[in-house]
Symmetry: C2
Subunit: 202 residues, 2 copies
DNA sequence: CAAACTCAAATTGTTGACAATTTTGCGGGA
DNA sequence: TCCCGCAAAATTGTCAACAATTTGAGTTTG
């Protein structure tokens, strides 16, 4: 299912994902307005799908919308807000990983390893948007699998947290951390998984 | 500002708010699909604004979207998911109320009392959608004022939490609880505000 | 009788056009 | 020089039409 990587027609989902990783990677500056027309041209679609993507990203909190004035990149979060968010994300993701270990089947483990590999490749290619996207996809995998209810809430947190500090760690550190997390999951070692997760989300 | 209650042209924001309170009030059943055309007719607009509202509500987590199949009402959350959400919401709203007490000016306090009054009226009129909407507006006031960054995250939590248990308390209890919260805020008594808030969010 | 196929109806996805609003640039006057 | 207006340009808001996809009833076929 959905194995068409060459297909170049952008649906609203893809546009949303691309814009999100651009946002996380810091390709836009804070408070910068995003114009529907220019992005429509960039992706070769009309304004409809762009508006859809804007609305999703607005709800996630990375964009701000004002009536008749469109959207702009959200301003940076304060340190105390960031602390609250990290605590929430950590609590949430701990619950999800714990549950994921319980319910994951072989097929999930296969997908997990693919996502990890994709993340490593992005790190080695040193493409920041790619790293941001695959990092998010990896975490999103176990969150979504554990609870479709918590996933949108988690996504909003993760995006905002990553937006500012995405350059904090070296790619080598990131690879090692995610290696440890996935390894613990595959071994179904809950305790260790939660421990290494806590080190990753800071 | 925005005092035009008779104005019958629905912008996407209003449509979104109306649908959200209907959702919270339980007007739709779980897994029920929502059709763009029928809602477009109901609100007297085209499908565009309806789609916008769907995307926002999907991101908040009360609707689920599937490609080419539209949206449907999200299924009920499990008890352990609910616990996680309540914890997160409480932590978040505590932070916001505490900050709100620090930064609120007279104008905010005026608005707060208006929102409380609106909530009481809805309770006495016994209109469940109205109660849901004004309850949310009241809490949203101090959250939004404290942090526009945390607001969308808070909204997603609050909606999902309220969706299932909105009939749990009597309206008299709700009025009393909110009276206490607002009273504590106006007196700038942080400790008491956080205490009564904890009793309200369960 | 059940499974598979066919085709029409219903629904979503996308687009381009037009209306409404906001922003921008340019003079004119104190 | 500064500060209004005012009109043009840019941008968002909404709509109706058409394309693509899914659904469902009816029919055929083994």
């Amino acid at each position: 299912m959905s194995i068409d990587p060459i297909k170049s027609d952008y649906t609203r989902e893809k546009i949303c994902d691309i814009l999100r990783s651009d946002l996380i990677a810091g390709k836009f500056s804070h408070d910068q307005p995003l114009r529907e027309i220019s992005l429509a041209k960039r992706f070769g679609v009309s304004r409809g799908p762009i508006r859809d993507a804007f609305l999703k990203l607005t709800q996630e909190g990375s964009l701000v919308y004002e009536t008749n004035r469109g959207v702009r990149v959200h301003s940076a979060i304060a340190d105390d807000e960031r602390k609250i968010m990290i605590n929430m994300r950590l609590e949430l993701e701990k619950y999800c990983i714990s549950k994921y270990i319980d319910i994951a089947v072989q097929k999930d483990h296969d997908e997990l390893e693919i996502l990890l590999e994709r993340f490593k490749c992005a790190c080695l290619r040193d493409s920041l948007p790619g790293v941001a996207e695959s990092d998010l996809s990896l975490h999103r995998h176990w969150v979504a699998r554990a609870s479709s209810n918590l996933e949108p809430i988690w996504l909003g947190l993760a995006v905002r947290i990553l937006m500012k500090y995405s350059r904090l760690k070296t790619f080598e550190e990131s690879i090692e951390e995610h290696d440890k997390i996935v390894e613990a999951i595959l071994l179904k070692n809950k305790e260790r998984a939660l421990l290494v997760l806590s080190a990753n989300i800071v």
